[in-house]
Symmetry: C2
Subunit: 430 residues, 2 copies
């Protein structure tokens, strides 16, 4: 018998509608799962079982509030919440209590979601890790910066969680932990009430375990009508296989998974062809590093000037000080070149329905100190295009390997529909 | 003898360097000016003379901190400040105390600025007015939403103030009150810690009384090296005179000021030609209203759901409820059409160094209930291009009329240099 915590949100919602499941029963099941697994996974910075149960009972007593009525979710702890402390992954904010919920949380609550707690973030969504471990092997990183969200959803503690991505902070933890991560078109979900890292790149993203759930969560957080994803067939899709300039950083296992994915999609009738990033993408990684280098220390001015001793040495010495050395003209030039990359990619998408590319260089690295390389995520993040990672495979260490699909700017629902068609075709059932 | 409060920031900085003025003397002079004029103007939501003097004395004791060392500034009260309450123009937030300074404030403080207080904003930077009056005639609006900032700088209470613009909220108050308002390229100054209105449009802007001061303030808030504006001559400039689709909304006086400005620039050697907005600009005003209609009620979800009774009826009934009726496809389509407008304007700028256009339809309207029509400001705001208004003229009611210059995306310093060259040519000396 399936425990409620194992259900997809879409299935749970159908059971609510049919009267065969209560919100309280689902929430209680998720609580039990969290309590059973949290010692090993450490996904939560703040978790309040009584508050969650109280929300659940109130929802059971009232009318259906919206598309995600009764669905438990976690919010990365760099997102403000009015009823729970918000620490931004930093000792500076230990016990800090925001006055209001960030719009993405407030909209999820208005749409009926149940806020279960705050998930662990790295320090200010940067590099310095939190306590979370990979649910498949606690000796390995869950990835970052949305470490707790990726781990909690993959480990079936909650069906939904919020993450944020400035480099690879949504997609990478999903790939390492083995769930679906969705990085929307830049700006789709408001980043108000989310601690700013790099305003030119910061994107609020979603975690779930099915693509229908991603679409449901999206409708809830945008407060728009929920419509099921449009039917889509892999046959006839035009897929650009983009190894990117970082292919050499990927492991043999990742190479195999991606090459095999391209072949599998072609066998299923897709027109798969190689896509090589050209021209404006020369020096792409450095362009983005310049932008984040310039913006991040300015976003953290208050913390730099009031609490330098509470910043990690890694952050203060390596990132903030270095970023302040970047001159404005270099920054401005990088912004302009990235704008040209966006135009180039928009033109390239005329020939493709989706782009296939790795989600991460390899399985999750061993150790908790290093959350992994975001190199395969920056293409979507910095070009503002939507991306989704699918947990299709397992590597030689027994950890998940994902494949990433990207779509054109603003075509998020089409990308999710394509991913829903591709997922069963690509899934290796391991 | 010139009182210190009358000095430009640039002149005050030179006197600090020469040892002929102390920060304390400048701040004390601004305090005296505020105390003399505040009953009439009501520019300040929060003003703390002792805190300002304490900051001033500390700066006099220490080394030069940055480009705006010792310069007093005001921050619109939708911008978070750690040492002063921040009310967002709403009774919901009466007495609300943010934990930290917004990056734009923190950077200004780090660069040596003296935070004098919080200036009056309309309700959530929308329409419902605050208490501020036009410094030239208290029976007239100062404009909005940055009502207090425009009034305070025009009335020489402070050399600098922050505003924000989603429609016309920086440029219009500057035009109505008679100072310089600068709306940068979208995204140039971080909007973190600024209450979100419409994330696709919200832009932090600056007020000052000279263009050199705008450049100085800009360097301070960006924490970049300050270089004087490059010399520029009006002769040879290519100016596009853009009456926009709203020309019929402008008064006869505004028509005369703008036609005269175009002729004056041509006489000074500029190549002035008409620029007509075409193609993608059909229905432009409605496109932006759709975007702000969709985003604004979502940004205010917490306030809508927790404190509806404390929202003005105007805001709650007319704007928030109506905005929630806009469907996602309409919103998405409006975003795409606005992107096309940005491309069209970028192409048009190949033929122009700057665009000349009205700053507002007329002098400031009589009464305090209506802050005026932003129609002449939305071209720059929604296309993300920099704009500056210059207080060149006075209308038949004895109130200021400004002219607006716009530049290409990202070319803010060039626009400021052009404006500095054009201002003395255009100034009617009234």
């Amino acid at each position: 018998m399936t425990e409620p915590y194992e259900l997809s949100a879409t299935d749970a919602a159908a059971r609510f509608d049919a009267g065969s499941l209560t919100v309280e029963a689902l929430v209680a099941s998720c609580i039990a799962r969290i309590e059973a697994r949290e010692d090993a996974v450490r996904a939560w910075k703040h978790f309040d079982r009584d508050a969650a149960l109280a929300q659940a009972r109130a929802l059971d007593r009232g009318p259906k509030r919206g598309p995600i009525h009764g669905i438990p979710f976690g919010a990365k702890d760099i997102i403000d919440t009015a009823t729970m402390p918000t620490g931004y992954g930093s000792p500076i904010y230990e016990g800090h209590q925001p006055a209001i919920d960030a719009p993405c949380v407030a909209l999820s609550l208005q749409s009926g979601g149940v806020l279960m707690g705050k998930t662990v973030s790295t320090e200010f969504a940067s590099r310095h890790p939190g306590a979370t471990r990979n649910p498949h092997n606690p000796a390995h990183t869950p990835g970052g910066s949305s470490s707790g969200s990726g781990a909690a959803v993959a480990d079936k503690m909650v069906p939904f969680a919020f993450g944020t991505q400035t480099g690879g902070s949504v997609i990478r933890p999903a790939a390492f932990c083995g769930c679906i991560g969705y990085k929307p078109t830049y700006g789709l979900i408001s980043a108000a009430g989310v601690k700013e890292n790099t305003r030119s790149f910061d994107t609020v993203g979603l975690y779930a375990r099915t693509l229908d759930d991603i679409a449901l969560f999206r409708a809830g957080v945008l407060a728009v009508d929920h419509e099921p994803l449009a039917p889509c067939s892999v046959s006839g899709l035009r897929i650009g296989f983009c190894r990117t300039m970082f292919w050499d950083r990927a492991s043999e296992a990742t190479h195999k998974v991606l090459e095999s994915a391209a072949e599998t999609l072609a066998r299923a009738g897709a027109a798969v062809s190689d896509l090589t990033l050209e021209g404006p993408f020369d020096g792409y990684e450095d362009l983005g590093k310049t932008v984040t280098g310039f913006e991040f220390p300015r976003a953290l001015t208050f913390e730099r000037t009031h609490h330098p001793e509470k910043l990690s040495e890694e952050l203060f010495e390596k990132r903030l000080k270095a970023g302040l050395e970047i001159d404005f003209e270099t920054y401005q030039s990088a912004l302009e070149k990235l704008a040209a990359c966006r135009c180039w990619l928009a033109d390239a998408f005329a020939g493709y329905d989706a782009i296939l590319t790795p989600s991460a260089p390899d399985e999750a690295p061993e150790g908790l100190g290093y959350t992994g390389d975001p190199c395969f995520n920056i293409l979507a993040t910095w070009t503002y295009t939507p991306a989704v990672t699918l947990p299709t495979s397992t590597g030689p260490k027994g950890l998940p390997i994902g494949v990433q699909l990207m779509g054109p700017h603003g075509q998020d629902l089409r990308l999710l529909a394509i991913a829903k068609a591709a997922f069963p075709v690509l899934w290796e059932g391991v």
